[in-house]
Subunit: 120 residues, 2 copies
């Protein structure tokens, strides 16, 4: 498996949980400590820490080693690979869909051949 | 948990596997039977079928019940919820990042107050 595939696996796995998505959405608005992240959830600190580890392994968030409270930080660019993958495949699908749509319109617009319409 | 959260869970889980992503990428180019989908992979038909079930449950693909070979079809719109969620959070993160960047530029541009520069 390539590095890109590994990164996509990790990013999509990280985003496949509502608590982790809520953490990402919170960090998009600004860095936060583990205590701040845990506050809105009915969850223990070890519970939140488990989710943070999954997010950290995926590269979506980072934690500074120096600061006393080790605030969590969203690595926004890490979302790019995931969104690019989806968009590229959505684009391919959409182009095919549009071509099919145009083809059906062309068929409807074209005069029928060899039928009654030409027999006048 | 809301329906949207459930759908996002299912979509991201479905996309968190390289074989399932390859199936989605193949179906973006056109419908295909299970045999056609299995061909590029060193995988048994039951193995592929397991992945197709995950994709079907997530709503990303559908299979017609009528046709003899039950071709698989990508439900392109089902990718929208996943891509919208990522894009929205990326946008919030980017705006904050740009504001911070502008703030730092403003600080650098502003004349220092009460320092040596004003003492002439």
């Amino acid at each position: 498996m390539t590095v890109t595939e590994d990164r996509l696996d990790a990013a999509f796995t990280a985003l496949a949980d509502p608590t982790r998505r809520a953490i990402v959405a919170r960090l998009a608005r600004g860095d936060a400590t583990v205590n701040e992240l845990a506050a809105p959830f009915d969850m223990t600190l070890p519970g939140i820490s488990k989710h943070l580890k999954v997010l950290e392994r995926s590269g979506l968030i980072s934690r500074t080693r120096r600061a006393q409270f080790r605030p969590c930080h969203l690595e926004g660019e890490a979302l790019d690979a995931a969104v690019s993958w989806i968009e590229e495949n959505r684009r391919v699908w959409k182009e095919r869909f549009d071509k099919l749509d145009q083809h059906l319109r062309d068929i409807q617009r074209a005069p029928s051949r060899g039928g009654k319409a030409n027999a006048e």
